[in-house]
């Protein structure tokens, strides 16, 4: 897996709560293999309906950070939602809360979901609206986020996921190091299915 260490990139504000993974990537695209390039499917229906959709505005071209609202990525467990975002160049998303499975899926794809208090995220979106195309700087090792106004905010990240991201570790390889413990567990507890 690719490592995630620091990211200095333009951020897009998306003022919508409860953005579900069906909107991030509509179901009809899921039949494609991952090699199809899921970035092309990102928010497809929203973009078709709204030519002014914020991700399509020229001032946000090349943005790699999404700043949004509560419960981003709720709904279906489709990991393709994360592939659509990373395929379109995004590496980090900031919200007051995330859909739980989407949150997990993010880390598995070298992307960083950051949870900040709702008021702080709303303030950040306002700053980005006021100065479209502004960059944010994320430092994962230090767990800091530098805002356009120069303010620095710390964020929490699970130490295990942080290590995996920083080193680009494949989690399955890590688990296989515990093979003996898994086998011992099975020997103690297993009843036939």
């Amino acid at each position: 897996m690719q490592a995630f260490t620091t990211l200095h990139a333009a951020a897009v504000p998306l003022d919508l709560a409860n953005v579900d993974t069906d909107q991030i990537v509509p179901a009809r695209f899921l039949r494609h293999p991952r090699s199809a390039g899921y970035g092309n499917f990102l928010f497809r229906d929203l973009r078709e309906r709204d030519p002014e959709f914020i991700l399509d505005r020229p001032e946000y071209r090349g943005a790699q950070i999404l700043v949004t609202a509560e419960n981003f990525g709720c709904g279906s467990s489709r990991e393709a939602a994360v592939w659509a975002l990373t395929g379109a160049g995004f590496r980090a998303w900031i919200a007051p809360s995330f859909g739980d499975i989407f949150f997990e899926n993010s880390f598995k794809n070298a992307a960083l979901p950051i949870v900040l208090p709702a008021g702080r995220v709303a303030g950040l979106r306002s700053q980005l609206h006021a100065a479209p195309g502004t960059s944010l700087a994320i430092n994962l090792a230090r767990q800091t986020l530098r805002f356009p106004d120069g303010g620095i905010e710390g964020f929490d990240v699970d130490p295990f996921r942080k290590e995996c991201l920083l080193a680009g570790i494949d989690e399955i390889a890590l688990t296989l190091r515990h093979e003996q413990e898994i086998a011992a567990y099975e020997a103690r507890h297993l009843t036939p299915p």
């Binding site: 929203l46 609202a69 499975i101 899926n105 989690e171 898994i182």
Partner: protein
């Protein structure tokens, strides 16, 4: 020390401790479906094998057509089902294929076969895996990477969730079902009210529910933001499981039941959060918007975004109203619907079909209506008691089992701009098809909508 049901299952499955308080959790059962091809592909690309094939059970549901299955016309759909069959054969996992009467929606098949049992951990690459919590199993949905992880290691790194107990007091009134209960809960706590929590459903209203009805409640836990829902196992659970193909038998059964009886949360166990619901005050519900939290009693009106103080939520409400073509203050009852869908992992079990049929009997559907049983066995059982005839004579379409119009991957779609009364779990924009407008409700309410062509309080039909 007093422990919750969640604690007991968690503690019994901890294999190893990881950094940051994470635990390597052993996974007892894994369910796979025809959307799991991404994970099998990742596993294969990494040159990894399936650690314990006997723990995984696969059946096509997302992509499988609900008719003309002998010759699936769409080559992409056919390929998805053939891929699952090939992956199952190659890895040695159990496969309930299109010709097998056990085929169906994974969350219907698992319980039906007795694969789902109290106290186990169960995962599936589908968010509605929370359904299986109805048995007192720790069950949650995972993404494709985690599916590959489970196939390769039979374990997952997890962080303990917080615990929320929802106590539903009293009893549901006639015409009000478990779907109404859970829609009322989500309307109350919000679509992210359960984020970070495992919800344990308790109280007299939950105890009185059948296993089918408990599954409906646990199924929708994900729509409240929780990854899992739980109901403590009791005699209702054991009666449902006894004699199921994969359930223990003989002395093993007795030992299992003795073990299962120790699972319920200790009386003095502490939950981090508690919510009480008065079940007797719950009315038949329907959603007006594009989030499962947008539910109101059928006699209610579409809320006014202007009254929502939070600007982000207000914006989402406004967007939902535009999408749904509804006005603030509009009454839900009487709103014309274009079609009806009865099915999905929320409401496609025999009990759901019986409830819907009891409303339909002797009436005619006045809009196109589709009934999709949750499994081949549900379909056969329904046909054995004549439910298919009730639906067919009323002009309903009676189909083969699958996810169908809940997720719109198999070709069963709601047309753009059309309004569907649906027993499924999600009313997201585009969920049932591009531009489709979904109103979530119980099977009884969906049946009432089918025979009146409008959103209707089903109790009025029961009284008449």
């Amino acid at each position: 020390m007093a422990a919750t049901l969640y604690d007991k299952i968690w503690n019994a499955h901890a294999v190893a401790a990881g950094p940051g308080g994470r635990t390597l959790l052993y996974i007892d059962r894994h369910l796979a479906h025809d959307g799991s091809f991404h994970a099998f592909e990742a596993l294969r690309n990494a040159g990894r094998s399936v650690r314990r094939p006997e723990a995984t059970f696969a059946t096509p549901d997302h992509y499988i057509p609900t008719r003309d299955r002998q010759a699936i016309a769409d080559p992409q759909l056919r390929e998805k089902i053939e891929t699952l069959a090939a992956n199952a054969a190659r890895t040695g996992i159990t496969f309930f294929g299109p010709d097998d009467p056990r085929q169906g929606i994974v969350h219907v098949v698992g319980p039906e076969q007795g694969i789902t049992q109290p106290g186990i951990t169960l995962v599936c690459g589908d968010s509605h895996t929370s359904t299986h919590g109805a048995f007192g199993a720790l069950a949650f949905g995972i993404g494709a990477s985690e599916v590959a992880h489970v196939l390769a290691t039979q374990a997952l790194w997890q962080t303990r969730s917080r615990t929320l107990r929802v106590e539903a007091r009293g009893l549901l009134r006639p015409g009000v079902h478990s779907k109404d209960l859970v829609l009322a809960l989500i309307a109350r706590i919000g679509a992210f009210g359960g984020t970070g929590y495992t919800i344990e459903y308790a109280g007299s209203a939950i105890r009185a529910l059948s296993m089918e009805a408990r599954m409906t409640v646990c199924n929708m836990s994900i729509e409240a933001g929780a990854r899992s829902g739980l109901v403590a196992p009791d005699d209702t659970t054991f009666e449902y499981l006894a004699g199921r193909p994969y359930a223990p038998t003989g002395a093993d059964w007795d030992r299992a039941v003795a073990r299962w009886r120790r699972l319920p949360s200790d009386p003095d166990a502490v939950f981090e959060r508690e919510v009480a619901l008065d079940a007797a005050s719950i009315e038949p519900m329907a959603t007006w918007g594009s989030s499962p939290e947008h539910g109101v009693a059928i006699g209610g009106v579409v809320p006014d975004p202007a009254q929502q103080p939070d600007p982000t939520r207000r914006g989402s409400m406004e967007k939902a109203l535009r999408y749904m073509d509804l006005q603030p203050g509009q009454k839900l009852e009487g709103l014309p619907v274009d079609q009806v869908f009865i099915g999905s992992c929320t409401n496609s079990r025999l009990e759901d079909l019986r409830i819907a049929a009891s409303v339909v009997r002797g009436r005619r559907a006045v809009v196109p209506a589709l009934v999709v049983p949750g499994s081949g066995l549900v379909k056969r059982a329904a046909e054995a008691e004549g439910l298919d005839r009730v639906f067919r004579e009323a002009g309903f379409d009676w189909r083969e089992p699958g996810c169908s119009m809940c997720v719109g991957m198999n070709g069963d779609l709601v047309g753009a701009g059309r309004r569907c009364a649906s027993t499924s779990n999600r009313n997201f924009e585009g969920r049932q098809g591009k531009g489709a407008r979904t109103h979530l409700m119980s099977p009884a309410m969906a049946a009432a909508a089918a025979v009146t062509g409008r959103m209707t309080d089903v109790r009025k039909l029961l009284a008449g």
